[in-house]
């Protein structure tokens, strides 16, 4: 009895520890082993934002099915994904990013320098339309060695003014003539807030670096720049420029004199979209392309949506801040995954912009599932190509384009400015509390706040 029990017990404890560890290696599949011996490639890709509607998921699954039919050796695994400055690093370090993930323009250079993006140059150059990209957009994902690491994919957008037409009407404003100056924004915001208790006439983002992002956008629209870079790439923080001061003073006046900014000042990209879709925000600024996600995740009522360019001041350098999304591939994947990745990038993001059949098929799938088709963005290729594309899909466009004419009429004539190129997200992070201070503390000393943030930003930039 004793002799049989001992090994059994040994095995038991062994199984509890070693076995437990072995069991860990069961599920999932690590990124660096994605190509198996049969040549079948498993490719995880970005699907939709967390919490998307069933229709959006269905549309996405249709697209995946179509892709897998055309590429039987690739098994696509959609993963929901939202790029947030505050969670991305953990995903990157944790190796939990999909094989094709999305990053903003601002982060590509840093990721390339850190060696965290796969060199996609060979795959990219093989695309038939590789030479047609708008060079300034392509630059965002190109490393110092001239290789393309991250590929402009999802969108490029100017920051624009989004407004709620229904709230405009409730305040006796004409929803077809959105404000064109910041003075009008202030005036309209007051009217909206007065007519709808609890509603913010105007709101702005303040959290997860988006406060700094929108402060920068509104600064640029007033002719200011938060960072100046000289010919040697030496960056100087200029957070205390008149444009930023004016923006903060503007926010202060709306918040404290007009009380037209509602009661919630802790908002980020996702939560301001939600408040807007729920009719709690009259106007706010964000990328011009958010209509798509307003539909996919917030089920916005299309009739209420209006889009206009961000108002530009008379200052000589006033411009519209642009931004965009790149598709990247983690540095540690093998060639098979990279080849599969470029096929997906081509299929899902790019080919539909240059190929008529693909454009129509894509629009058809989306429209069939009641997903937005035709949300205005900046052309990733030439303006001509963009307009050609719009013609191809004209039959399927289901976004309320006539409610976006204020924007679409002007979009090709807007003076554009890119985001600061160094330590962008870190400087944005420094600006979040500044915006929050102005909105939550009536006596906030704007000049002192900016001077303080400027010192810290300069220290960051000097680290190189």
């Amino acid at each position: 009895m004793k002799s049989t029990r001992k090994p059994a017990a040994l095995a038991l404890v062994g199984a509890l520890t070693a076995g437990a560890l072995a069991a860990c290696s069961g599920g999932g599949d690590p990124q660096d082993e994605s190509t198996n011996s049969a040549g079948q490639v498993t490719l995880s890709v970005v699907s939709l934002l967390p919490g998307s509607t069933e229709e959006a998921v269905a549309a996405f699954e249709d697209q995946v099915a179509e892709f897998e039919k055309a590429n039987p050796d690739i098994d696509v695994q959609p993963e929901e994904y939202e790029w947030k400055a505050t969670t991305f690093a953990a995903q990157l370090a944790g190796g939990t990013l999909p094989d094709v993930f999305e990053i903003p323009f601002t982060d590509a250079q840093g990721l390339v320098e850190n060696g965290q993006l796969a060199d996609m140059d060979a795959q990219f150059r093989a695309l038939p339309y590789a030479e047609q990209f708008n060079p300034t957009i392509l630059e965002a994902g190109t490393g110092e060695d001239g290789h393309v690491y991250a590929i402009p994919a999802k969108n490029a957008y100017p920051v624009a003014l989004h407004y709620n037409r229904q709230l405009f009407e409730s305040a006796g404003l004409d929803p077809d003539s959105p404000p064109t100056t910041w003075e009008q924004v202030r005036e309209y915001a007051k009217k909206i807030a007065d007519a709808n208790p609890g509603v913010a006439g105007y709101a702005t983002m303040t959290q997860n670096n988006t406060g700094g992002w929108q402060l920068t956008a509104q600064t640029v629209a007033r002719g200011g720049r938060t960072v100046e870079t000289d010919a040697d790439q030496k960056a100087t923080a200029t957070l205390d420029n008149p444009g930023t001061q004016e923006t903060l003073q503007f926010l202060h006046d709306l918040r404290w004199e007009d009380e037209s900014m509602g009661g919630n000042f802790l908002l980020d990209w996702g939560s301001i979209n939600q408040e807007f879709a729920a009719g709690q925000v009259g106007m706010f600024t964000s990328g011009s392309d958010i209509y798509t996600s307003l539909v996919q995740t917030n089920a916005v009522d299309p009739d209420t949506y209006g889009l206009a360019p961000i108002p530009l001041s008379d200052a000589p350098e006033s411009a519209t801040l642009t931004g965009g999304t790149l598709a990247g591939v983690p540095a540690n994947v093998d060639e098979g995954v990279k080849d599969a990745a470029i096929k997906w990038i081509d299929f899902f993001y790019l080919n539909k912009l240059v190929d008529e059949d693909r454009a129509v098929a894509d629009a058809e799938t989306l429209a069939k599932n009641d997903q937005p088709v035709g949300t205005p963005v900046l052309p990733m290729f030439s303006k001509e190509q963009y307009e050609l594309n719009q013609e191809w899909i004209a039959d399927y466009v289901n976004v309320p384009l006539d409610q976006m004419t204020a924007f679409t009429d002007a979009m090709f004539d807007l003076p554009l400015a890119g985001e600061p190129s160094q330590k962008t997200q870190e400087v944005y992070a420094l600006l979040d509390p500044v915006v929050q201070a102005v909105l939550t503390d009536e006596g906030a000393d704007i000049d002192a706040l900016l001077a303080d943030a400027n010192t810290q930003a300069q220290a960051l930039l000097d680290q190189g």
Binding site: A9, L10, V13, G14, L16, T17, A85, T86, T87, F88, A89, A90, L92, A93, D107, G110, L111, N114, G115, Q116, P197, G198, T206, Q207, N208, N209, G262, G263, N264, F265, L266, D268, Q425, E426, A429, D432, P433, V434, Q436, A437, L439, T440, D441, A444, Q456
Partner: protein, 321 residues
Amino acid sequence: MTVTTSPRGDVAAPARAAGAGRPRRGPATWLRGGGLHSLVFLLPLLVIFGVFSWFPIVRAVIMSVQETNLVTDPTFVGLDNFRHVLADPLLWKAVQNTLYFAFLALLFGYPVPLVAAVLMREVRRGRGLYSALAYLPVVVPPVVAVLLWKFFYKGGPTGVFNTILGWVGLGPYPWLQDASWAMPSLVLAATWAGAGGTVIIYLAALTSVPAELYDASEVDGAGLWRKIWHVTLPQLRGVLFITLILQVIGTAQVFLEPYLFTGGGPNNATVTVLLLIYRYAFQNSLGGDYGAATALSLMLAAVLAVFSVLYFRLTRSWSTS
């Protein structure tokens, strides 16, 4: 709560003496004598503690003097991480905020459960109902509680709390949307979620106050207040002190509330030390400063170790006396 005293020393002593008296043995006798069995039984503990506790603790110390970003090889930087952290203006803000949180948590969360428990102890019928009601918030998942209160706290006249207070002509208050309001709002929600547990602990302790003590003080003609002051509270002394220390240790590591309610805002008014550690390590989208994060956690640990020692001494003296 009564902790019975079994004569553990008496029983254990012979075994220990026998062990100490064993002669030295070679590996073969060690195996036969059961050394392997002990190892087998210790294996889960050694593996789990080794990998998930001892090794990470050592690693924390090493990382605190290194620059680690998971991209390039770590380099030794001496005390730079500590210097960097101590020079961060946000650190002092975070320390202040954490102390403030702890202070408010004591202010809200310490006397209320005590008073409630003492009163509930005197309930003669349906004490179970009182306990259940008091404990109900504790069973709500903490994240749900925070998200619910976040919604209650909505600023402006259409927030839930503001609407209720509006009925009696108060408000609207900014709750989370103001640097000076945010922290008390966080603590209020945390107290709601946690006080019930403390009430039950006190109630359990009160149940074990020996009836003779009350009887005896009544013989001396003591009234209600004197009985509470001279019998009840002294009997609770131990439990009160322990909940105090546990609360200090807990509040020093508060994360959930500031992270979910305010993200540290507005204007960093609710950035706590743990939130700052989290930010160092995980906030920067291009890669964390793990050196700074571990350096700060070690500094916090040093402070808390004092409380841990206190706590340990106390529970030990409790369980053996």
